[in-house]
């Protein structure tokens, strides 16, 4: 069987449904609706129309030669998901799930969010479809991302700060699951990544696989051949699965997922789930996760709120184990340097999440050399990260920064 045809609920030994019995009926209902929608031309046409007239698809690709000079001279091509409406790939999945929720007669959307990108996308879809929207966000994250909280509220969503546990993304997911258990009759849980119980990992992947399908054609048109490697950042792993999927059965295309290594994957402050974790059950699925010897989840750390998650989607766990994709750590600092480099060399300010993919690509380009073609998923734009970047670079000191940038990396 082709790797692309894997449909869950299991990817090898990963995936499944580890949830309270109360949710099984809702997951079955969703699975049935999704399975029907996949082959329903009306649903597909509705989604395609939204992508053409609302999301802004197809997203373009941009070759970045000045950036590539710092990456061994390889040809580097960015898939510009940052140009989508709401500023990241997240909208692909949100519109698909919101359409499904409408079909199921649900009138209320709930979502979890870390950085706020998925929350903003969910609030956007709720506004577009006239649905009620509640977004759960860890209290720590509401403080780090106050601007996104305001965006969600402006869009008409209610943002509920989650004050239990570590008060970050994992606790926001717990709280959304609790809400869903209690309100499953009228509520759809719009899970934002390729994790969670079946059918979420496969469904969210399918709503994002358009990224890779477009990009594969675009790279062929531009270069006349497939890329040597495809790279993406991995938190939960939705943008990475979205761009990897179209290439899974192209054996000559290497796939690289870059995890957030925070202060270093050998320190205790990182979010490098596959690099440092081991298999376990979290948020409804079996996959790699960060945990102590008793199976208690360990809090993750990353400068990027969107990658600050101690789990990862089960399909990534499987692709890792079968050797089809490689997962490597990128530190906060490596990501921030790559963010600045792309900004200075190409006039594109990436999200800090996506900057992890860029930092990995710099290393990879140096390994592969100037003949290589590397496709990078630029999953989001950096507007939301200006406060973090401003503090990180102490940007008032502009003269020092400019001098550093003159020196080759």
């Amino acid at each position: 069987m082709a790797l692309r045809d894997e449909l869950g609920p299991y990817f090898g030994e990963y995936g499944g449904r580890f949830v309270p019995e109360s949710l099984i009926a809702a997951l079955d209902e969703l699975d049935a609706a999704y399975t029907a929608a996949k082959t329903d031309p009306v649903f597909q046409a509705e989604l395609a129309e939204l992508h053409a007239t609302y999301t802004g698809r197809p997203s373009i690709v941009t070759e970045v030669p000045r950036f590539a000079e710092h990456a061994g001279g390889a040809r580097i091509i960015l898939k510009r998901e940052d140009l989508n409406h709401t500023g990241s790939h997240k909208i692909n999945n949100v519109l698909g799930q919101a359409l499904l929720a409408k079909r199921l007669g649900k009138t209320r959307l709930i979502a979890e969010t870390g950085a706020g990108q998925h929350g903003v996308a969910s609030a956007t879809a709720a506004a577009l479809f006239g649905m009620e929207c509640v977004v759960y966000m860890g209290e720590v994250d509401t403080e780090r991302q106050a601007l996104n909280v305001a965006r969600m509220r402006l869009l008409g969503a209610e943002v509920i700060p989650v004050t239990n546990g570590s008060r970050t993304l994992k606790d926001a997911i717990n709280e959304a699951l609790r809400d869903w258990v209690a309100n499953v009759g009228d509520t759809h849980y719009l899970l934002g990544t390729v994790a969670g119980p079946h059918p979420f990992p496969v469904m969210v992947r399918d709503f994002h696989k358009i990224i890779g399908e477009e990009a594969r054609r675009q790279v062929l048109d531009l270069t006349g051949r497939l890329p040597d490697a495809v790279t993406a950042c991995v938190g939960g792993g939705s943008n990475a699965m979205g761009i990897f999927h179209a290439f899974l059965d192209d054996p000559d295309v290497a796939l690289y997922g870059y995890e957030a290594a925070g202060e270093g994957h050998l320190t205790e402050r990182h979010a490098a789930t596959i690099t440092r974790g081991r298999p376990g059950v979290l948020h409804g699925a079996r996959s790699y996760m960060l945990q102590d010897e008793d199976g208690q989840t360990i809090e993750s750390h990353s400068i990027s709120a969107g990658l600050d998650y101690p789990g990862v989607g089960p399909e990534h766990a499987w692709l890792n184990d079968i050797g089809r994709a490689s997962y490597l750590p990128i530190t906060d600092d490596e990501a921030m340097q790559a963010l600045r480099l792309l900004s200075r060399t190409e006039g594109i300010i990436p999200a800090i999440e996506s900057a992890h993919a860029l930092a990995g690509t710099i290393k990879l380009g140096k390994e592969l050399g100037p003949e290589a073609i590397i496709l990078v998923n630029l999953s989001g734009r950096g507007d939301k990260d200006m406060e973090t970047a401003g503090k990180y670079f102490d940007i008032l000191d502009t003269a020092a920064l400019a001098a550093e940038d003159e020196a080759p990396l």
Partner: protein, 265 residues
């Protein structure tokens, strides 16, 4: 360690039913407010009319639990709860009182400890079995095998939203009792125990259940009496944890006695 030959939980429930009532199941988490007090509190429950102990293992991501139990288990974790304390507590409680002790745990701690090793150590500590809120029977093959080997009880959940086929599966796979979730929601006291519980228990009877206990939302002796009018047991958690948090062992003992008044026919 030899396997259990029969379910002590089922024996207790049957005896209470034969006496014209049903069983009272009381939940408390290990390690809250500290290990020793949690053991004393569980013993006090039994001494005040609780028939079966449901001992919760604190877990970092308890998606089935409401705020009262979350706060208690988070405190226990912050104070250094380790899985070993769970076995220690089971052994200490069963040494002091006769009531069966079921352990309530999310699945990942068992998986990481090793399913067979967990079963062996629970059996050795004198535990009766496991209640698994986030493990449905469909995903439980390893636990089904380990519990068959050791004779430990395995309590699966049944929900108002479960199909008839799933209720039959829960009944067939459970041993000890089936945990009938009274309402679509998480743990926590509620003024009215949902009407949904009554129809869920009726559906479980149709699916062949002779041992169905209702949990989630029960907090008073009157509610216990009402539930025992149609079910084989009533499970109380948050109300006991609140009492323990507010007034220590004396308060939780009084709360247990008030709940147990509902088991007197």
């Amino acid at each position: 360690m030899s396997a259990r030959l029969s379910s002590s939980v089922e024996t207790v429930i049957a005896a209470r039913k034969a006496a014209g009532s049903g069983a009272l199941v009381g939940y408390l988490p290990v390690g809250f407010p500290d290990l020793k007090t949690s053991i004393d509190a569980a013993v006090a429950l039994v001494e005040n009319g609780v028939d079966i102990i449901e001992l919760g293992l604190p877990y970092s991501d308890p998606v089935m639990d409401g705020p009262v139990i979350q706060r208690a288990t988070q405190t226990a974790l912050a104070d250094g709860f380790k899985l070993g304390h769970g076995f220690e507590a089971v052994a200490a409680i069963t040494a002091r009182v006769d009531a069966p002790v079921l352990v309530m745990t999310y699945w990942n701690p068992v998986l990481q400890y090793g399913v067979d090793r967990f079963a062996d150590d629970l059996l050795a500590a004198g535990g009766a079995g496991l209640i698994t809120p986030d493990l449905v029977a469909d995903e439980a093959s390893e636990w089904l095998a380990a519990s068959d080997r050791t004779g430990l009880d395995r309590v699966f959940l049944a929900a108002p939203s479960s199909t008839d086929a799933r209720l039959r599966q829960a009944v067939e796979r459970s041993r000890g009792f089936v945990y009938a979730v009274s309402t679509m929601g998480i743990t926590g006291a509620r003024a009215d125990v949902d009407q949904a519980a009554r129809s869920l228990v009726a559906r479980l009877r149709d699916a062949g259940s002779t041992s169905a206990c209702v949990g989630v939302g029960i907090s008073t002796g009157d509610q216990v009496r009402e539930v025992l009018g149609y079910a084989d047991g009533a499970i109380v958690g948050s109300a006991l944890v609140s009492a323990l948090a507010d007034g220590g062992v004396p308060a939780v003992a009084r709360a247990a006695a008030a709940l147990a008044a509902g088991t007197v026919a």
